[in-house]
C-alpha cells in the first residue's frame, strides 16, 4: 500500500524510565515488543538446544547419548517451546512494535493488559521447564499430547504442563484482544481497512484465529485434567468417551494454530518484497481475500491430521477436499509475490534474501502438504519423517525465516543503526544452506518409511540421518551469528535514515530512526 502522510507531530518530552522497573512496569508497546522478541530468542535457543540433543542421538543408529525416556521429553519440549515460546511470541513482539507504528496509533489500545500478556509468559515457561526436574520427568507424549499417552500413561508433571498451557492461552487471548482492538479502534484518520498495511491485516486475522481457538485448547487440557485426576471419561472409551475425541478437539485448535504461525509471515514477506522490488505490491486486495479465505478454511480441515485414526469415509473425503482447497488462496499469494518481483528493480539485502527464500521454501513445504492432504497417500506418509520434513519446511524456512527477515527489515528503525550487511548475508547463506541440509533428506527417509518420534532407526536410514544432523548443528551455530549481529547493531553501526530503505512505504518510515519513546500521540493523516 502507499500512504501519503500530510502531517504529524511527535511527543519528545518523555523518554523511558531507568532501571529494571522500566521493563517490569512498562506500558509502552515498543518496550513490550522488545521483551517479547528477546523472550522468543531465548526460547529459540533453548528449544534449539533440545533439537540438537535429538539430532545428536539420531546421528547414528542405535542408542548412544540419551535414554529413550529423556529423548521423548526432549522431543515434546522442543515442539512445545518452539511453537508457544519461540514462533508465537516473536510474531507478537513484531506486532507490538509495528502495528501501532503502521496504523498511526499512540500505543496499543489496552497498554496495561499488554504488559500482563507478556509477563505471564516467562512464568508459564518456568512452570513448563521446571517439569524436567520433577519426579517422573517432563512431559514425554509429544507436543500434540494425544490421550491416553497424556492422560493414563503420563508422568505426574502433566498437571504442571496443563496449567502452563492454561496461562499461555490466557496470555495469547489477552494479547490478541489488544491487537484486534488496536486495529479496529486506533487507526489514524483516513486509514480505511483496505488501506491498512498487509502486516496489520495479517495480524487482524491471526488475532481472530487466536481468540477463536486458544479457548478450545484450554477446554482440551481441562478435560485431560479432569480425566487424570477427577475420574471423568472424556477420552476413556471404557466410560463411553473416546481417545479420538481428544484428537478432534486438539486439531480443531491445532490447525488454525499452524496458520497463526504463518499468516503474520505472509504480511512481513509482502512488505519486504515490495520494498526491495521497488514496486507497489501486486494484488493487494487479493492478498487480503486470500488470507481471509485461508483463515476461514482453517476451521474445517482439522481432521486431515487424523486420516489413519479410523474416521467414516465421508469425513476422510470432506477433509481431503477442504484441505486441497487451501492451495488456491495460498497459490494466489505466491503468484502475487512473484508478480511483484517481475520486472522490478530488485536488490538483495538480507531481508529480501530471507523473504525470497521464504517464498521458495515455504512453497516446497506447501507442496509436501498437498501430498499429505491426499487421504490414500497419507496412509503411507502418516507419522513418517516425511511429515517432519513437511512441517519443518513451513515452520523453519517458513515462519522463522520470515521473522528473521522482519527483524533485519525493521531493526534499523528500532535501533537507529544499520545492521552489518556483510554479516547479515553470511547469516542468510549459512542458514539457507544448513536448513536444507537438515530437512530435505528427511523427505527421503520419510518416503522410505522411517517413522517419526523414535530415538533409534533401521540401518538403511543411517546416511541421510547423519547428513541431517550435520545440517542441524550448522543451522544452530548460524543462529549464534544472528545473536552477534543483533547485539552489534544495538551497540552501534551506520546511522539509519528515517526511510531506512530506498523504496520503503508506510507510516513507520515517516518516523525518525530510532523513533521517539512515544509516537503518534497526535494521529497522522492518511490520504
Amino acid at each position: 500500500m502507499s500512504a501519503v502522510i500530510e502531517s504529524h507531530e511527535q511527543d519528545h518530552h518523555h523518554g523511558p524510565p531507568k532501571g529494571i522497573t522500566r521493563w517490569l512496569y512498562t506500558t509502552n508497546h515498543k518496550d513490550i515488543g522488545t521483551l517479547y522478541l528477546w523472550l522468543s530468542f531465548a526460547m529459540f535457543l533453548i528449544g534449539g538446544a533440545m533439537a540438537l540433543v535429538i539430532r545428536a542421538e539420531l546421528f547414528a543408529p542405535g542408542m548412544q547419548i540419551v535414554e529413550p525416556e529423556f529423548y521423548n521429553q526432549m522431543l515434546t519440549l522442543h515442539g512445545l517451546i518452539m511453537v508457544f515460546g519461540a514462533v508465537m511470541p516473536a510474531f507478537v513482539g513484531l506486532a507490538n512494535w509495528q502495528v501501532p507504528l503502521q496504523v498511526g496509533a499512540p500505543d496499543m489500545a489496552l497498554p496495561r493488559m499488554n504488559n500482563l500478556s507478556f509477563w505471564i509468559l516467562p512464568f508459564a515457561f518456568i512452570v513448563l521447564l521446571s517439569s524436567l526436574f520433577m519426579e517422573g520427568g517432563a512431559p514425554n507424549f509429544g507436543w500434540t499430547f494425544y490421550a491416553p499417552l497424556s492422560t493414563t500413561y503420563a508422568p505426574p508433571s502433566v498437571t504442571f504442563f496443563i496449567f502452563s498451557i492454561h496461562i499461555m492461552g490466557a496470555s495469547s487471548i489477552m494479547g490478541s484482544i489488544n491487537v484486534i482492538v488496536t486495529i479496529m479502534n486506533m487507526r489514524a484518520p483516513g486509514m480505511t481497512l483496505m488501506k491498512m498495511p498487509l502486516f496489520v491485516w495479517s495480524w487482524l486475522i491471526t488475532a481472530y484465529l487466536l481468540i477463536a481457538v486458544m479457548p478450545v485448547l484450554a477446554g482440551a487440557v481441562t478435560m485431560m485434567l479432569m480425566d487424570i485426576h477427577f475420574g471423568t471419561s472424556f477420552f476413556n472409551a471404557a466410560g463411553g468417551g473416546d481417545p479420538v475425541l481428544f484428537q478432534h478437539i486438539f486439531w480443531f485448535f491445532g490447525h488454525p494454530e499452524v496458520y497463526i504461525m504463518i499468516l503474520p509471515a505472509f504480511g512481513i514477506t509482502s512488505h519486504i518484497i515490495e520494498t526491495f522490488s521497488r514496486k507497489q505490491l501486486f494484488g493487494y486486495t487479493s492478498m487480503v481475500w486470500a488470507m481471509t479465505s485461508i483463515a476461514i478454511l482453517s476451521f474445517v480441515v482439522w481432521a486431515h491430521h487424523m486420516f489413519t485414526v479410523g474416521m467414516p469415509l465421508a469425513a476422510e473425503l470432506f477433509f481431503m477436499w477442504a484441505t486441497m482447497l487451501i492451495a488456491v488462496p495460498t497459490g494466489v499469494k505466491v503468484f502475487n509475490w512473484i508478480t511483484t518481483m517481475f520486472k522490478g528493480s530488485i536488490s538483495y539485502e538480507t531481508p529480501m534474501l530471507f523473504a525470497i527464500a521464504f517464498v521458495v521454501l515455504f512453497t516446497i513445504g506447501g507442496f509436501s502438504g498437498l501430498m499429505l492432504a491426499i487421504t490414500p497417500a497419507d496412509f503411507q506418509y502418516h507419522d513418517t519423517y516425511f511429515v517432519v520434513a513437511h512441517f519443518h519446511y513451513v515452520l523453519v524456512p517458513g515462519s522463522i525465516f520470515a521473522i528473521m527477515a522482519g527483524v533485519y527489515f525493521w531493526i534499523p528503525k528500532w535501533t537507529g543503526n544499520m545492521y552489518d550487511e556483510r554479516l547479515g548475508r553470511l547469516h542468510f547463506w549459512l542458514s539457507f544452506i544448513s536448513v536444507n541440509i537438515t530437512f530435505f533428506p528427511q523427505h527421503w527417509v520419510g518416503l522410505a518409511g522411517m517413522p517419526r518420534r523414535y530415538p533409534d532407526y533401521a540401518l538403511q536410514f543411517a546416511d541421510w540421518n547423519m547428513v541431517s544432523t550435520v545440517g542441524a548443528f550448522m543451522f544452530g551455530a548460524s543462529q549464534i551469528l544472528f545473536l552477534f549481529i543483533v547485539l552489534k547493531t544495538l551497540m552501534g553501526g551506520k546511522k539509519a535514515t528515517a526511510e531506512v530503505w530506498e523504496s520503503s512505504r508506510g507510516l513507520e518510515w515517516t518516523l525518525e530512526s530510532p523513533p521517539p519513546y512515544h509516537t503518534f500521540t497526535t494521529p497522522p493523516k492518511v490520504n
Binding site: T26, F123, F163, I167, M226, D242, L245
Partner: protein, 301 residues
C-alpha cells in the same frame, strides 16, 4: 475533525503482580492436585496466596481504572476500546463452551453409538460386546469398579413430573434475571437510580437463587441419583458443562454485585456513562444464552 488525546498510562505495577499471582495460582493448583490424598502437603497455601494476590491486584487495578475515568482522563475512543475488548472476551468464552458442547455432540452422535455397534465405526463394539448405546449413558461400556453407575439421570422427566424438576426452575430463574437486568438498564437510562438499584439487586438475588438451586441439584445427583464425575461420559459432560456454566454464573453475579455496590455506595453511573454496568450485563446475557443451550442439549434433547 475533533481530536482527544488517547490515555496511555505512563507505567503500571498491577500487571506484574497479576502475572506473579497467576504463577502462584497455577503452581499452587497443580501441586495441590498432584498431592491429593497426601495429608502432609502444604501446596494448597501456594494456591491460596496466589488467589489472594490476584484478588487484591484486580481490586486495585479496577479501582484505578474507575478513578481515571471519574477524573476524566479517558476519552470516547478509550471507551470504545473497552467495548470492543469486552465483546472479544465474551467471544473467547463462547469458544471455550464450544469445546465442551462439541465434545457432547461428538460422544452423543459418534463415540457412544459406535461403542454400541451402530454406524460406520460400529466395529468398536468388539471392545465391550453387549454394550448398548443409549443417551443418557446409564451403563458404561466397561462395568469394572472404576465407574459408579447412576440410578437416575437429569433429563426431562415427562410432563407428570415437570413441576418438581429443578432444571425447569433454574431456567425460569435465570431467564427472568436477564429480564430484570434489562429493566435495571432501562431505569438507568431514564436516570432513575433508585429503580436501577432495586432491579439490579433483584438480579443479584436471582443469581444467588440459581447458584443455590444448582448446589441442590448437585447434592441430589451425588446423594440420591448416584450420578457423579465417575459415572462415565454422561456424568462427565453433565458436570463439566453445568459446572463451568455455574462458575460463570458466579463470576457474572459477582460482577453485577460489584456494580450494585458502586451504584449504592459511591453513586457511580449516569444515564450516558455506565459501561462498567453494561459490560457486566452483557456478560450476564451471555451466561443466560449458554444456559438456554445447556437446557436444550444437556437436559431436554
Amino acid at each position: 475533525m475533533s481530536y482527544q488525546k488517547y490515555y496511555v498510562p505512563e507505567s503500571s505495577r498491577y500487571p506484574i503482580f497479576a502475572a506473579i499471582a497467576l504463577f502462584l495460582l497455577v503452581t499452587g493448583a497443580a501441586s495441590t492436585i498432584n498431592d491429593l490424598g497426601k495429608p502432609d502437603s502444604n501446596s494448597v497455601y501456594i494456591l491460596y496466596s496466589g488467589f489472594a494476590v490476584f484478588a487484591i491486584t484486580l481490586f486495585f487495578w479496577f479501582r484505578t481504572v474507575t478513578k481515571e475515568h471519574l477524573v476524566g482522563l479517558d476519552s470516547a475512543q478509550l471507551k470504545k476500546s473497552f467495548v470492543f475488548g469486552m465483546a472479544w472476551f465474551i467471544f473467547s468464552e463462547v469458544m471455550f463452551f464450544a469445546a465442551f458442547f462439541g465434545a457432547l455432540f461428538y460422544v452423543r452422535n459418534f463415540a457412544v453409538p459406535w461403542l454400541g455397534g451402530e454406524g460406520e465405526k460400529g466395529l468398536a463394539n468388539i471392545l465391550w460386546e453387549g454394550f448398548e448405546a443409549s443417551w443418557p449413558v446409564m451403563s458404561t461400556p466397561d462395568l469394572g469398579s472404576a465407574f459408579s453407575l447412576p440410578e437416575k439421570n437429569m433429563s426431562w422427566p415427562g410432563w407428570g413430573h415437570a413441576m418438581e424438576w429443578l432444571p425447569l426452575w433454574n431456567t425460569v430463574v435465570l431467564l427472568s434475571s436477564s429480564v430484570t437486568v434489562h429493566f435495571a438498564h432501562l431505569a438507568l437510562k431514564n436516570n432513575n437510580k433508585r429503580v436501577f438499584n432495586i432491579w439490579l439487586g433483584i438480579t443479584v438475588g436471582l443469581a444467588l437463587t440459581f447458584v443455590g438451586l444448582q448446589v441442590a441439584e448437585y447434592y441430589e445427583a451425588y446423594a440420591h441419583y448416584g450420578l457423579t464425575l465417575n459415572s462415565g461420559i454422561y456424568g462427565s459432560t453433565f458436570f463439566m458443562l453445568t459446572g463451568f456454566h455455574g462458575f460463570h454464573v458466579m463470576m457474572g453475579g459477582f460482577m453485577l454485585s460489584v456494580m450494585l455496590c458502586r451504584s449504592v455506595f459511591y453513586n457511580h453511573f449516569d444515564p450516558h456513562d455506565h459501561f462498567g454496568f453494561e459490560a457486566a450485563s452483557w456478560y450476564w446475557h451471555f451466561v443466560d444464552v449458554v444456559w438456554v443451550m445447556l437446557f436444550l442439549f444437556v437436559y431436554i434433547l
